[in-house]
C-alpha cells in the first residue's frame, strides 16, 4: 500500500461492526495505521480529524467473488483500475476468480497479481487458484503450491468440473491441505448455449434458456460430495429458490458450507432482459421474481452468508452485439454498496444485516480474519454517507462501463476507504 500510514481521528461516526455486534456513535482513533481506540470523545493531539457526524463507519468491505481483468483483460481493465474502482466503493479485500488469461494455475501468475495489486495500492487482493490445470476439469492444479504462493482457495470459476470423479478428487486433495473449495454450480450440458433464464421471458424473446435445474442438479451433487469428503466449501452465485432450499438443508445438517449471491440477482429478475438488454446478460442468468424473493429471504435469514459483486468488466464492444453474442457480465463493484443500501431503504434487509454480508459474512465465506474492527490491528474500514444519492455514471472508475445501473440514482457515497492502515480512497 502506497499512501503513508494514517494518523486519523474519526469523530462521531455511527460505527457498525456486525462481527462484534456493535452499532453506536463513536470516535475511532487510528495511529500509525493501527486501530488503537474506539470510544466517546477521544482526544488525539496531532491526529488529523475526520468529522463523520451523520456518516457511517463500516469495517472495510469484502467482495467474495469478482474479476480483476488482469492478466489478459486488455482494454477491459487492469488490476490498478479495478482495485481503484473497488476502493471507491468501500472495498478493502477482494477475492478474485482464477479465470484470467493466463489462468491462475501457476505461481508466476499469482505473483504477478499480488505484485501489481501491491504496486497499485488500492486493495488487498485475495486470489483464488484454479482447481484444475487450465480450468480443464480433468487434471488437478498444484493447489498447495498455489496456496503457499498466496491463494486463499481453489475454484474452477465459470467452468465447473463436470466429471464427478475429478471433482471428488479435487475435494479430497484440497481437504488434505485444508484448502477451501469455491464452486459455482452448473451442469454444462443443461446450460449449453443458454443466455437467459429458461422461462416465460426467454420463450417470448426466443433466447436459448438456462433452466434453474442446471444449477440445482450440480449443487445437489456438490453438496453430496462435500458431505462425503468433508471439505470446506463455499458456493458462489446461487441464483434460484431451489438452490436456497438445498443450501438450507445442507446447513441444517451441519455441512461446512457457506454461500454468496450476486447483488444483481437480488434486484433484478428475468424481466430485465426485455428489449434484449445486453447490460443484463449475466451468468448465472437473472431468474424469476419468485427466485429473487427467495434469495432476498435467504440473505435476511442467514442462509446466504455474503453478497458479491461478480464484478466482470468487459470492453464496450463486447456488449455492442445482438444479445446472445454479447459477453456476459456486469461491472459491479462500484454499485454493490449503493444497491444494497437501496434494498435496506426498501425494507428488505436491516442495515446491520446488509453490512454483515459485506464484512464478516464475506470474511467467514472466505475463511479470512478480515471484515471487522479489531483494536491493535492495521485498520481496514470505510466511511459512508448512506443518505446522499448519486448517479454511478457521474464518477465511474472501472474500465468496464458495462452496467445497467449507470443512470440510476442510488443511495450511498463512500467518503473514505482505509485498507490496512492506509487511505485508499477519499472524496468530498
Amino acid at each position: 500500500m502506497n499512501s503513508p500510514r494514517a494518523h486519523l481521528l474519526i469523530r462521531k461516526g455511527r460505527v457498525i461492526d456486525p462481527a462484534n455486534g456493535r452499532d453506536e456513535v463513536l470516535d475511532v482513533l487510528i495511529e500509525n495505521g493501527r486501530l488503537v481506540r474506539m470510544g466517546a470523545s477521544l482526544d488525539a493531539p496531532g491526529a488529523e480529524i475526520f468529522n463523520a457526524e451523520g456518516l457511517c463507519v463500516f469495517p472495510g468491505l469484502v467482495d467474495t467473488c469478482m474479476r480483476l481483468s488482469e492478466p489478459g483483460g486488455g482494454r477491459s481493465g487492469s488490476i490498478a483500475s479495478e482495485t481503484r474502482a473497488a476502493a471507491s466503493g468501500g472495498f478493502t479485500h477482494l477475492c478474485a476468480l482464477p479465470d484470467t488469461d493466463p489462468v491462475v494455475d501457476n505461481t508466476a501468475v499469482v505473483r504477478l497479481i499480488r505484485e501489481r495489486a501491491m504496486k497499485a495500492g488500492f486493495a488487498r487482493v485475495l486470489p483464488l487458484a484454479a482447481m484444475t490445470q487450465q480450468l480443464n476439469g480433468s487434471q488437478l492444479a498444484e493447489m498447495q503450491t498455489l496456496k503457499e504462493a498466496g491463494c486463499i482457495g481453489v475454484s474452477n470459476a465459470g467452468k465447473p468440473v463436470q466429471d464427478a470423479l475429478v471433482l471428488k478428487r479435487c475435494f479430497e486433495y484440497a481437504a488434505t491441505f485444508n484448502i477451501p473449495v469455491m464452486l459455482r454450480p452448473q451442469d454444462n450440458a443443461l446450460a449449453a448455449g443458454g443466455c437467459a433464464h429458461e422461462g416465460a421471458v426467454s420463450t417470448r424473446l426466443g433466447l436459448p434458456g438456462v433452466p434453474a435445474i442446471a444449477e440445482t442438479i450440480d449443487l445437489a451433487r456438490t453438496l453430496l460430495l462435500v458431505e462425503a469428503v468433508g471439505v470446506r466449501a463455499h458456493i458462489h452465485q446461487i441464483s434460484c429458490a431451489a438452490s436456497v432450499a438445498l443450501l438450507r438443508d445442507a446447513k441444517t445438517k451441519g455441512l461446512p458450507v457457506t454461500a454468496d449471491v450476486c447483488i444483481h440477482h437480488l434486484l433484478l429478475d428475468e424481466s430485465a432482459l426485455e428489449g434484449f438488454n445486453s447490460q443484463c446478460h449475466i451468468q448465472p442468468p437473472l431468474r424469476s421474481q419468485l427466485d429473487r424473493d427467495a434469495l432476498i429471504t435467504a440473505v435476511a435469514d442467514g442462509t446466504i452468508d455474503a453478497i458479491c459483486s461478480q464484478h466482470t468488466p468487459v470492453g464496450s464492444s463486447s456488449k455492442q452485439a445482438p444479445f446472445p453474442a454479447t459477453k456476459a457480465g456486469i461491472s459491479g463493484i462500484e454499485t454493490l454498496l449503493p444497491l444494497l443500501l437501496h434494498l435496506v431503504e426498501e425494507g428488505h434487509l436491516s442495515l446491520q444485516r446488509a453490512i454483515e454480508t459485506l464484512t464478516c459474512g464475506a470474511a467467514k465465506s472466505l475463511d479470512q480474519t478480515v471484515g471487522h474492527l479489531e483494536i491493535g490491528r492495521a485498520a481496514s474500514l470505510c466511511i459512508v454517507d448512506t443518505k446522499t444519492r448519486k448517479r454511478p455514471s457521474d464518477d465511474w472508475i472501472s474500465a468496464g462501463k458495462n452496467s445497467p445501473w449507470m443512470e440510476a440514482v442510488l443511495p450511498g457515497v463512500v467518503r473514505l476507504t482505509m485498507c490496512e492502515g492506509r487511505i485508499t480512497w477519499l472524496s468530498d
Binding site: A272, F276, L410
Partner: protein, 328 residues
C-alpha cells in the same frame, strides 16, 4: 430503476406509424389490419403485365442475410423491385463478422452507401432490434427472421392467407403443429393471432419441442395430435430440421411423422373446411404427407404469393413512416 431499451416503441413513430418492423408483439390490432389492407392493394400488382409501382423509386434496400435463405431473400427482393427500389443482396456467413469487422462497423459502412432500408436475417434473437437501435435515423429495419424470436413478415403473410380464406379472425381456432421450440415463425404467429382476435391458438407437439411457459403467450398446449386438431379452422405445420434428431429432441423422423405428421386421416378431427398451411420449405413425409401438401385444402403456395404483397406493404409503410419522421 434500470434503463431498458425501448422494445415496444422502437418500431413505431411518435404517432404510431411503422418505421421498422421488428416484431408483431407490441403492435396494435389496427396496425396489423393496416398491413393486411395495404397488402390487399398490392396483390393485384403481381397480376399486371408490368408488375411495378413507383413507391420506393430512388430508395436503396439492402438485404442483409447473416443466415442463408433463398426463399425469404427472394421474396423480399421481388417485393422491393416491384416497389421500384434498388436492391443490394449481401449474404454474410456469420463468420465474416467474427473475422474482425464488427457488426457495427459493417452497418456504418452500409449506411455510408446511403441505404434506406435493411432487411435483416440473423441467427441471434434480437439482432434486428439491435441494428434498429444503432442505425442512423431514416434507415428502416425489417426483421426477416431472428433466431427463435420473430419472423413478423412471415406471420403477417400467414394472417393474410387466413383472412383471405376465412374472412375474419373472430371465432377461429388455429393449431400450430411441430417444432415450436425453435420456431420464430410460431412465436410471431401466436402474437398476431391473439392480437387479431382469434378465438383459440393451440400448439401441438412432444414436450421436447414445446418451449417452457409457452402458455404465457396465450396458447393452449396439446401433446396429442387428434385432440389438438379437434374442430380447428386452420392447421399450420412447422418445418422440422433434420438436426433435431442429433440433439436428443426426437428419436426419429418416422416416429415424429407417425405421431405428429399431417396426413388426410389424421386431419379428420379438424373442421372439414380447415385450411392447411406451412411456412416452407416443406419436408414431405416428415411433418406433412404429400397427399396433404398437394391436396385441395393446402394453401401453401398461396402463402408464397401473398408473401410478396405483404412484404411490399411492410416496406412501403416503413419507408413512409421514416419519411414522415424525417419531416417532423
Amino acid at each position: 430503476m434500470i434503463a431498458t431499451p425501448p422494445s415496444a416503441s422502437l418500431q413505431l413513430t411518435d404517432d404510431g406509424k411503422l418505421k421498422h418492423f421488428l416484431s408483431v408483439e407490441h403492435c396494435s390490432r389496427s396496425l396489423l389490419e393496416d398491413i393486411l389492407n395495404t397488402a390487399a392493394g398490392f396483390v393485384e400488382v403481381g397480376d399486371r403485365s408490368i408488375k411495378k409501382v413507383p413507391l420506393l423509386r430512388g430508395k436503396t434496400v439492402v438485404n442483409l442475410f447473416f443466415e442463408a435463405s433463398t426463399r425469404t431473400r427472394t421474396t423480399f427482393e421481388l417485393a422491393a423491385k416491384r416497389l421500384s427500389a434498388d436492391v443490394l443482396n449481401i449474404d454474410i456467413a456469420k463468420s465474416a463478422t467474427s473475422k474482425g469487422e464488427s457488426l457495427m462497423d459493417m452497418l456504418w459502412n452500409l449506411e455510408a452507401m446511403s441505404s434506406d432500408m435493411f432487411v435483416v436475417r440473423h441467427s441471434d434473437s434480437g439482432a434486428p432490434s439491435f441494428i434498429a437501435e444503432h442505425v442512423t435515423p431514416n434507415v428502416a429495419v425489417i426483421n426477416a427472421g431472428d433466431g427463435r424470436h420473430a419472423h413478423p413478415t412471415q406471420a403477417m403473410l400467414d394472417m393474410y392467407t387466413i383472412r383471405h380464406y376465412k374472412q375474419r379472425f373472430e371465432g377461429l381456432k388455429v393449431a400450430i403443429v411441430g417444432d415450436v421450440l425453435h420456431s420464430r415463425v410460431a412465436r410471431s404467429q401466436i402474437h398476431a393471432l391473439n392480437i387479431l382476435g382469434a378465438e383459440e391458438v393451440r400448439v401441438i407437439g412432444p414436450r421436447t419441442l414445446i418451449p417452457v411457459d409457452i402458455d404465457a403467450l396465450g396458447v393452449s398446449v396439446y401433446s396429442d395430435l387428434s385432440q389438438g386438431l379437434k374442430d380447428v379452422d386452420v392447421v399450420i405445420a412447422l418445418r422440422l430440421q433434420k438436426e433435431r434428431m442429433d440433439s436428443a429432441l426426437l428419436p426419429s423422423e418416422s416416429e415424429f411423422f407417425r405421431l405428429y405428421g399431417l396426413n388426410n386421416d389424421r386431419l379428420r378431427p379438424a373442421k372439414p373446411d380447415a385450411i392447411i398451411m406451412h411456412p416452407g420449405p416443406i419436408n414431405r413425409g416428415v411433418e406433412i404427407a404429400s397427399e396433404v401438401a398437394d391436396g385441395e385444402r393446402a394453401v401453401i403456395l398461396h402463402q408464397v404469393t401473398f408473401g410478396i404483397a405483404v412484404r411490399m406493404a411492410v416496406m412501403s409503410m416503413c419507408i413512409a413512416g421514416q419519411d414522415a419522421g424525417g419531416m417532423a
